[in-house]
Symmetry: D5
Subunit: 160 residues, 10 copies
Amino acid sequence: MSLATLDTTQHPYLPAASATLFKAKATKALSFEQIAEHIGRNEVAAAAIFYGQAKASPEDIEKLSTLLDIPHDLLNEQLSGFPDRGRSVEMPPKEPLIYRLYEIVQNYGYAYKAVLNEKFGDGIMSAISFSTKVEKETDKDGNNWAIITLRGKWLPFSRF
Amino acid sequence: MSLATLDTTQHPYLPAASATLFKAKATKALSFEQIAEHIGRNEVAAAAIFYGQAKASPEDIEKLSTLLDIPHDLLNEQLSGFPDRGRSVEMPPKEPLIYRLYEIVQNYGYAYKAVLNEKFGDGIMSAISFSTKVEKETDKDGNNWAIITLRGKWLPFSRF
Amino acid sequence: MSLATLDTTQHPYLPAASATLFKAKATKALSFEQIAEHIGRNEVAAAAIFYGQAKASPEDIEKLSTLLDIPHDLLNEQLSGFPDRGRSVEMPPKEPLIYRLYEIVQNYGYAYKAVLNEKFGDGIMSAISFSTKVEKETDKDGNNWAIITLRGKWLPFSRF
Amino acid sequence: MSLATLDTTQHPYLPAASATLFKAKATKALSFEQIAEHIGRNEVAAAAIFYGQAKASPEDIEKLSTLLDIPHDLLNEQLSGFPDRGRSVEMPPKEPLIYRLYEIVQNYGYAYKAVLNEKFGDGIMSAISFSTKVEKETDKDGNNWAIITLRGKWLPFSRF
Amino acid sequence: MSLATLDTTQHPYLPAASATLFKAKATKALSFEQIAEHIGRNEVAAAAIFYGQAKASPEDIEKLSTLLDIPHDLLNEQLSGFPDRGRSVEMPPKEPLIYRLYEIVQNYGYAYKAVLNEKFGDGIMSAISFSTKVEKETDKDGNNWAIITLRGKWLPFSRF
Amino acid sequence: MSLATLDTTQHPYLPAASATLFKAKATKALSFEQIAEHIGRNEVAAAAIFYGQAKASPEDIEKLSTLLDIPHDLLNEQLSGFPDRGRSVEMPPKEPLIYRLYEIVQNYGYAYKAVLNEKFGDGIMSAISFSTKVEKETDKDGNNWAIITLRGKWLPFSRF
Amino acid sequence: MSLATLDTTQHPYLPAASATLFKAKATKALSFEQIAEHIGRNEVAAAAIFYGQAKASPEDIEKLSTLLDIPHDLLNEQLSGFPDRGRSVEMPPKEPLIYRLYEIVQNYGYAYKAVLNEKFGDGIMSAISFSTKVEKETDKDGNNWAIITLRGKWLPFSRF
Amino acid sequence: MSLATLDTTQHPYLPAASATLFKAKATKALSFEQIAEHIGRNEVAAAAIFYGQAKASPEDIEKLSTLLDIPHDLLNEQLSGFPDRGRSVEMPPKEPLIYRLYEIVQNYGYAYKAVLNEKFGDGIMSAISFSTKVEKETDKDGNNWAIITLRGKWLPFSRF
Amino acid sequence: MSLATLDTTQHPYLPAASATLFKAKATKALSFEQIAEHIGRNEVAAAAIFYGQAKASPEDIEKLSTLLDIPHDLLNEQLSGFPDRGRSVEMPPKEPLIYRLYEIVQNYGYAYKAVLNEKFGDGIMSAISFSTKVEKETDKDGNNWAIITLRGKWLPFSRF
Amino acid sequence: MSLATLDTTQHPYLPAASATLFKAKATKALSFEQIAEHIGRNEVAAAAIFYGQAKASPEDIEKLSTLLDIPHDLLNEQLSGFPDRGRSVEMPPKEPLIYRLYEIVQNYGYAYKAVLNEKFGDGIMSAISFSTKVEKETDKDGNNWAIITLRGKWLPFSRF
């Protein structure tokens, strides 16, 4: 199995922590599944920390420091601030895998809105009070299927 | 419960069928859940047909014609071609509900890619061999949660 | 005092209700302050309904129909759906008044984020569980000051 | 409490002073509230200085130099020029917290304009003769609310 | 001398008043100089009213109605609202004459800022408390020169 | 009085001469007014040389070298080529002061065109055979006003 | 030989005169070469009048009216104003023939600038005091070559 | 006469050869006219090689190496690949001289197409089987005129 | 089998001929394969004529008129001009099928260039002296494969 | 024959492996044809690996390491991750050769869609289960033709 790595020349705007974390991950040869299990979080959340898109708690930092053999002080300095989210993907995404997700929004955006509005009323599905996960399924013909679940709190528009 | 409607002055680039279908839906006062059940499809798929983002089979057209009291010939003429997908949402989406989905792609795009690559290898989750559904969950505090599931076939990049 | 009006040739993408409401408002010569008072909502919310950016409840529709002498059926048909928000302002805004608000976000965006993060932790101020108001103040030199208050629920990012 | 920090690889276009100030802030472990109190300014203004979006007076420079243990000459050289505002946020903002503010302008822009015009006549709320503040409110259910106040001088369009 | 006219197929987003005014101007064969003199305003301001970029006072409307033989009620309905400025020029401007002005901002923008900051301190030249005029000069070789004067109130940034 | 300075991290695309000149200007603590007087040019032109937007003559280079104590050879090498104009301001400008000038073009562009066409015929005001200046005026109430004058040769379109 | 025609559904922003002129040209079955000869102008200039990119003199209007059998009053009303240039080509051009011209500017832009600057000094080639022509050449192998000549007055930047 | 030079901080995306060549050109104080004569090519082509927009033949490289005193191996390594054209000018061009060429395409694009189509049929003027030159003309009043000639093979669209 | 149809509300910028042709095609229930065979052209070329992207010869017009029962005069008037190519697809394409082709260019663009340059030297594959075809292949597992062939004349860059 | 090389100043966002590979290719003076043969892949695929657009298998890495004399560890570290595709070509492409491919998509996109839909039904040609090749043909007149073949699996839209 290949592991996800980071080529910093391709991601100049990621935080300094990204380079530190990915380099250690490559050296230790750990998958996000293993890392996530170690810190007790979902593997998408673990990867999001690596890309500077999720906040690491002090415990996360400690565990990552231990697991990945990164000096705690260095990791703490690089990870303890608040994430400056949204800088990893340039929109529209050029990466084919990420583009497919973008395309789903582009094609089904209003269908989701119509169905959600009828089910919940006027509001949105939060992307903040939110979690997500990725699962793998293999059908009887041996085909693999990826399943991504998005779960967000419903926020009704306030009346004022 | 309010029903999703279409204001054609806001969606000038939707196909002619969209106006026909939404008008009849409003007159009949049907929800997408009811329509979907009638045609035996998922309600997101049903809404996607209304927005010109999914193909209706001859049987779908017949059932929609009956349920919504639309002359079969008219509906057939407007719905039997191939969808010209992607024209309903202008990107980046301005609509807050749809923007939240876009933001999820923007924030977690590379995290999904890293996790999917490690789980499946080099490839993409198809948005074509693909289905999706929307569910509602109410937690013990009475908060509602929206759950969107994306399920796509894994396509490995061909070696050539 | 001049009243806010709508020139539909300048706003081709507003919903049909906008034309109906603004026309009646001009005929009745009512300000948003008067309209808001009548329907028991904030005047920004009242104006937002006119621009298709807020949902009108059945009671709002009834009261607006009475106050503005618009047939209830017509207004109900045009206003009872879910707003398709975000289509009134083209970004970056060209209108000088609206541009100033945009400029405030552009200049102070990260300052707000830093202060809010330190005060509340990792999260966002909701624009959905949200209300806003406009006030007028006149200082002792006779200068007028506009005060806009934004009040949103703090949503912490979920840990997952 | 976590403190706001700056990752310069993510903000390559901020002035040199930003790196100097944020580094010292991290070392001294000071919040913007503490810094603001020390220099006698609002905390949003204090953060805006750190992001190169507000001018520091000679007194501000002196106080910041003392509080943060930065050589006065260095800070003076880096901070005494005129701010080149607007370079901190890339529009449309990708950062979720800042995007919510942008979304408020996008959704309510014309509603604000209509209400302000009716209240004040033809003109704008200045973003220059302007101040702003952030407040925290906790309601009886323990929910936190963020309140942002924008206060700008009303400038009527000159007749010529 | 040719007169400035309006081809509405080229300016679909101008307000309804623009078509009314330009049509009457063509019929009456009046220049903006003559119109400006009649309403006691600068000719740039007069033209700006025609393009929906400046507010007409009740007196302006009356005088324009008389001079141009437009029914007062019609003109009042079309002109008494608040201008929705900024929609006449698409940026970057494609029109060569307007592009030259844009180019001046593009080339000399920071030079103006540097000189203005040194002369006035930290602030801006208002475009609202603002007037402008156009003059013609012929040098001794018979060459014509256009002189555009911009005069705006200096607004210092508030300290807060 | 503060002096205009250059933070090269914010202006990575300015020519090498800009850094050299601004650094020397800061060391010598000279204003553009003083520099302009020394080289016998308008202060906007002087600032434009510093931002790489105007050509320096051999005499300008000599005088700047003397006044600012910059080795003549260095300055000559950096300044004797032809300016690559237009790279200093990113459009639309984010800087509030420069944006106001841009907004004037956006709002009054067609008004200027109409008035200029009626005064001069079909053509443009040159931005090349062009000069400009900035003046300061203080009215009886103590308010400051900035006056920017643009003077360009009128170029009629050739008939061919 | 086929003649150039206009499909107005593809050019909605051209002036009203364009439709009038092209329709008459099709009816009369005239080429731009014939039209140009009749009005005594270059054929590119003649085509530019048809696309609203060049001003027609009163004599041009008269001759066009006669040649094309268009009522003089109608043509005069539609053509006597000042062209609102630049609206015919959307940039970057999608039309392959026009794109090739754009590509020449894109590839050779700085080469032209370097050569022109060395030949003429600091300035520009005017696009206003300008003429252009198209010629056809057939080489000995029977290949056709198009030759486009651009001739513009050299305008040196003013020293100020 | 001033010579065209290259400020690499303004052209970060030009190939390495550009810096090498322009530096040597400045040292040798040679114009493009002299360089072109030496290598037996048109001076626009010579300048295009310097900007990485044209391929240098082995003979060109040898002659440039000799004339400019650049080690042959270095120049060969930097110049012998295939040009990655189009990266020198950012579109729309901000440089005034280059913008004028762009404006000509923008204004006269469809006029050229109409005239070329009528003269040659359905096809394009090649920008590949293409040459160009710049000439200088001085009229009897002492005005200078720049003449740019574009000569491209006519390529008819294939019928298939 | 479903047939490709045209919904003109989704393609407002196609030429008038597109509506005429697609309407007749639907009435006659003909596929592009049948149409192409009738006019003796490739089916992609036939479809390109329908979308206004290829020129129809007088014989094509005659045959289409007969096959589709469209009055010859009408079709001749709508089809005899020169195609204004490039207006059918908005880039980047939102349509999933067309996006995949765009993605191929995005991903493999430089790989094609490198291979073509090494095989042919410095030049381009013409898109004008060009033909293309679409084929269908079914493998032994019953999977369908689409094969698109692009064949263009190699044009070497001229030396000048 | 010239070989394709890489100028890293022109491609700052390519992965580190690109620089390593292209440098070794230049030293060894190998064509992509030779490299492809050695690793047993198509030459477009080989070039795509060099540009970071295709995954190299462990065997590919070994063979490339041997052929190009690159330390296996270095190459393995740089090449064993998952490609971050799409970053090599900036869209719309400015490179003339790549632009021609883009133009083909722009002009024939809907024609391909119509023909493919009629041949295969509702779906897309995969760009993932996909291979491509480049061939050279010389006709009897000695003209060279480039033939690019795209072969992708047909993916029908799932019904759900």
